[in-house]
């Protein structure tokens, strides 16, 4: 089963194509990384996959053939958007209440225990938490929904190195323990090294390369994901600009 399947997928804003001719199959049970420079179309692809945006061309299905944004798709996918939007004037406890109310499944004991572990007080307003705590709260709320697929858009871009490490540790623990598939976008390559098992390399609105990380490394003779990405992006960029 594929958690995301796109065929000829495209999205146009006005005259600009933010994403085009994207054909892609991201397998389940993996941590898949969407890598590319700013403006490569990563956020657009994620928005299409979680159903926030409707495609201008082609189609995208999730969780084994479900229409993105359909009730079953919303039910099975938890999304943490860029800059982890939360209701700043609601308390942490209220955020738990709201998320529980809006979803079919919600593991409240997990959410409570996890936040206690992180030292996030339930009565504090979400807006008063540090950036790292806000990101952890958003991630905890997403994981407590017990999703099949966790989608993270630039989750660590705004975090300091310690918060970054803690955040990714939580993601990996969830992926390992509960078999959650993860799809995350990032332009911070070093963070993905230990994490990603599947790679989607994007630039200028197109998918340049996609596949299992180990196989890609072997095929391209690169030692690390970072080298592969840099090498490939440098190599393909002139061709893309044309």
């Amino acid at each position: 089963m594929n958690v995301v399947e796109a065929s000829g997928l495209g999205k146009r804003y006005g005259r600009t194509w933010a994403l085009r001719e994207c054909t892609l199959e991201i397998p389940a049970g993996r941590v898949a990384a969407l890598v590319g420079p700013n403006g490569a179309g990563k956020t657009t692809l994620l928005n299409l996959a979680v159903g926030l945006t409707a495609p201008s061309a082609g189609a995208v299905t999730v969780l084994g053939g479900r229409r993105a944004g359909s009730p079953a798709a919303l039910d099975g996918i938890a999304f943490v958007a860029q800059d982890t939007p939360l209701y700043k004037n609601l308390s942490v406890a209220d955020m738990i209440y709201v998320t529980r109310s809006l979803n079919r499944r919600f593991d409240q004991p997990y959410a409570r225990a996890r936040l206690e572990e992180l030292g996030i007080p339930p009565k504090r307003k979400a807006g008063k938490l540090s950036g790292g705590q806000q990101a952890q709260l958003a991630l905890t709320l997403a994981l407590a929904r017990r999703p099949w697929l966790l989608v993270l858009d630039e989750p660590v871009a705004a975090l300091d190195p310690v918060a970054r490490h803690d955040f990714m540790a939580t993601v990996l623990a969830a992926a390992a323990a509960n078999g959650v598939s993860v799809l995350l976008s990032s332009h911070v390559l070093t963070e993905l090294e230990r994490v990603a098992g599947y790679l989607v390399l994007m630039s200028r609105g197109r998918v340049q390369l996609a596949g299992d990380v180990d196989e890609l490394l072997a095929a391209h003779g690169q030692a690390s994901l970072e080298e592969l990405a840099l090498h490939y992006l440098r190599e393909t960029t002139p061709e893309v600009t044309r």
Binding site: P71, D75, I77, A81, K88, V98, S101, L102, W148
Partner: protein
């Protein structure tokens, strides 16, 4: 490919997924909008207390003035003056109170979607299992019902407070009085909630289109102003065909719309008679007081002096008016179209939520 611990559990397709119950949105809506709703409660509560404090002496003054006999005695004139004096404050209050439906509707309605779009939280809200269309519908309807209930209750108290000015027979007693179709008409039992809902829906749609709270509030207040002026100046007097009478004794609670004159069965002129005609036929020791035809003030129920002096020369004055007995039909007509407008705007808002691209 690795074997899957199948996330696709049987019976989890769209058709098998029952939508989450609507009641779950009650607590969500309350938590997100409790500050706005508390603000409305405080505002209406404080004004209700004031209406009660102002209304009691007003009603006492009215009862005393009506009960006094004979009406021409000095004591009764004093009581009448006391009652008439209360209009000084209540008249201005009526103008201020006109702002309430607009303020309440705009301040509660605009943030519902504009705040989400402004702060990016729509990316959270619209990717939860509840579904964004149902989320928007539940929020808008729940808030609309709460606002309608609160403003409906408030309008009952307001109507009680202003009732003495709207009673029949005030003019005969020398008391201030006006048509219930004019004074505080848009703040009565049906129209107050209806106008509040209309502005709420305008503000919600403006928030969806403009995506910012403050500009959406400003825009919805501007639209409200245009709509309120159109309703009061153009639409309301046309809700039902006006009655026309040649009788000079139109009831004081009627809403006078205009006059026209005929001479020997043919149209002569509209409005007040030309000065040349008056100089020719009418001699006044002093200029006549009430001009009659206006919609404000206390129209005179006594015979129009122009009509009296022009009648022997073949002129007949025709008065078009809306009788006070049409108060409730007018309330429901105005409430009806405002409610239909609100429903339409909310439907448009939800349609935009459904199709908006992130």
């Amino acid at each position: 490919m690795t074997a899957m611990t199948a996330p696709a559990r049987p019976g989890e397709d769209d058709a098998m997924l029952r939508p989450l119950p609507w009641r779950r949105m009650a607590g969500v809506t309350w938590r997100q909008h409790r500050i706005a709703l508390a603000g409305v409660a405080v505002l209406l509560g404080a004004l209700a207390v004031w209406l009660w404090i102002a209304g009691l002496p007003l009603h006492h003054a009215y009862d005393a003035a009506v009960a006094c006999h004979p009406a021409s005695s000095a004591a009764c004139q004093d009581l009448a003056a006391t009652f008439n004096g209360t209009w000084d404050v209540m008249g201005y209050a009526a103008i201020f109170l006109q702002l309430l439906p607009a303020l309440i509707g705009a301040f509660v309605g605009a943030p519902v979607l504009a705040r989400e779009l402004e702060t990016g939280t729509f990316r959270y809200a619209w990717t939860q299992g509840f579904g964004r269309s149902r989320w928007a519908l539940a929020k808008l309807v729940a808030l609309a019902v709460v606002l309608a209930a609160a403003t409906g209750a408030f309008s009952v108290l307001l109507s009680w407070c202003y009732q003495p000015y709207l009673a029949a027979g005030n003019q005969a007693l020398g008391l201030y009085g006006n048509s219930p179709l004019v004074t505080v008409f848009s703040l009565r039992e049906v129209t107050f909630p209806a106008w509040t809902l209309a502005v709420f829906s305008i503000a919600a749609l403006a928030g969806m289109l403009i995506r910012r709270v403050v500009p959406a509030i400003v825009a919805s207040l501007a639209v409200y102003a245009g709509l309120a002026i159109a309703a009061a100046g153009l639409l309301r007097e046309r809700y039902l065909t006006p009655l026309v009478t040649s009788s000079p004794n139109v009831p004081g609670t009627a809403w006078l719309l205009g006059q026209s004159w005929t001479k020997d069965g043919r149209f002569a002129f509209a409005g007040n008679p030309p000065v040349s005609l008056l100089n020719q036929f009418c001699t006044f020791t002093q200029s006549p007081g009430g001009k009659g035809g206006g919609s404000g003030g206390g129209p005179s129920s006594s015979a129009n002096p122009f009509a009296q002096c022009l009648a022997p020369h073949g002129y007949t004055m025709w008065t078009s008016y809306q009788p006070a007995s049409r108060f409730w039909p007018f309330q429901w007509i105005e409430g009806g179209w405002l409610l239909a407008l609100s429903a339409l705007l909310i439907a448009a808002t939800i349609w935009l939520v459904r199709r908006r691209a992130a």
